[in-house]
Amino acid sequence: MAALAGDAWAAVRMSPGSLRLAVPAGRSLTLLVRSCTLSAATALLCLAIGTAAALVLLAVPTRLRWLRMAVIVPVIVPPYLHAVAWMRTAEGLRVLLRRAGLALPPFQGFGAALWVQVMVYAPLMASVALAAWSMVDPLLVDAGLVQGSSHRVLRRVILPLMLPVLAAGTLLVFVLCMGDLSVPSLFSVNTYALEMYARFSASGRTADVTLLAVPVVLLCLAALTPAMRSLATVLSTPSAREGAVASAWRAAGAVRAGALFGAVVLGVDAAGLCGSLLAGAQGATWAAVLDALPQASVSLRTAGGACLVSLVLALAAGPLVAAGNRSARWTAAFLLVPLALPGPLAGTGASLAGVLAGGLWKTVAPSLLLAFRFGPFACLMTGARLARLDSATTEAGRLFERRRGDYVRRIWLPTLGPVLLAALLLVAILGIGEVSGTLLVMQPGQQPLALAIYNYLHYGGSGTVSALCLVLLAGLLALMVPALFLWNRGWRRA
């Protein structure tokens, strides 16, 4: 960030006219409006579908609880994997319809990008809605049911109580869409994030990208600031709190139909994702998959480095976030900035810092970039957990400590450890799937798996791509399962 700011400042001093880049006009204004429209439409559709699906998932009986996970797991799937799956599904549909004498337009453009983005982020919104519901006191819902119908309780009690968290989730989806270039680029939709990447690729002038990014960063900061408190609450909520099922409320009538539709859409996405990748991978050979091992190793190494840096960040910033005073607010505000920075801009910053520092920096830049982008999540999760530590427990731990280090080893670490590990696994999951920033900092011959898939996609899908996607998906799932387990275990100890 410092490198970007310094570079932009120097450019403005040399040529004050370059400041005009920061004011959208003409083509850049058109792109900004398109990006905002795409992101806002995605966020609102995700809100509707995610919330509707959550209403169904809440009502599933205990023995079918795994359905929640099955529908929500696509949260960890990177956007371009969804894009591959839907490209294949649409192509299959086109072939089928052609046989029936019907012509379907190509799956390209704004509509296709919107559809895929909704599929990407709807599971995230469903998770947010489930978290929002778990924060609603079941007794408040039951109190409503005694005096009003199911619809009235939803409208007057449940939705207003869930609103802050739902709004935070919607704003987060908006910000994530604004910064992502992978889906729009695969569907030939020119957006502002893509323009930033294209400008850097074409001219190599980092200051131009920084100045160009100013409106997007301001927009994203404006969107994230009101969402911050709710976002921290969401991150501090265990994923499977039982209180949520205690209320007698059930969706009825039209609400139930809408909720079922939302759940079906998520189910279709999850099934389509796995189905199309499995079908597509049948043409691949084991040799092709084995060839990708070096790339998988780069991914793991880079994500591992990001986890180490994030661990240091979380241990340093977590207690500050948890303090609940002015420093907590400042720390939280500071952590917002990386979240508001579009991927290409963060990548440009890391690349510029590499040019300035040289040597070792170029080797560690990808890990530092991932830690910069996703480390704030680890800090917020750690802070949220620390904030909920029972002060009496910690004081008792210190009071009864007989050997130096006992408190840290036997009280602090077991209490915080699972959540910290879950947070680091989340960083790894997000880091392994990231392309928007790493696209600009990876060294030749050091291509991670995600980038390899993304590059392959531009040359058209193939069995190898599907097989690589499956390898990536399996890797992410292997990280997510222990992350969820640790997260819940950490909170059970709360």
């Binding site: 006191d137 007794l139 408040l140 039951d142 109190a143 409503g144 049911l145 005694v146 005096q147 009003g148 119908s149 199911s150 009235r152 007057r156 009690v157 207003p160 109580l161 007698a248």
Partner: protein, 217 residues
Amino acid sequence: MIACADIGVSAGGRNILSGVTLALADGQRVVLMGPSGAGKTTLLRVLAGLLAPEEGTVTVSGRQASVAGRVLVPPSQRSIGFVFQSAALWPHMTVAQNVLYGLADLPRREAQERMRQALAACRVEALAERLPQQLSGGEQRRVALARAIAPRPRHLFMDEPLTSLDSDLKGELLNLVTGVIAADATAVLYVTHEEDEARAVGGTRLYLAGGRLGSQT
């Protein structure tokens, strides 16, 4: 009249209610006593339609309202007022809005009048525009009572409404509760494990222990 017969509810392999039969006639007062974890709240939830029994039936005014595994008549159609153990006031609504919630099917003017009457009866009319978090614990309990009585339900369920209050406040609120009950012909099912509350409310006393119901000796 609200009644239940042979109600059975279990959770985690443990019987919470077993063969419970109870009838609450119009205007009758019943005090349900028993130790913590005896199933008192569960029984209220079954009667209110917030929980379907695993066995047995619930009838409201002679009409089958719940059968094993199903709630046939939703809670809002059972003419029930419910005062929960915690005040359970909706934090995003003012006191007035909390009370007006249950009066939505009345004409606006009449609903406003009923709301004012209920708040006055519970001596909280001056707090109408406040949010629940701006009220003290005692004031919240008063508002919860006002919300429950405002629609003039035929049955009023009170689930340990004075729990975790200090003794002075408890005495004051107990007077209010008994006054409100006496002023209405509402049937009252009052859950408590405090002897002084049971004595003040009066009426029939039932004892629930180990999921089974009996008269207290």
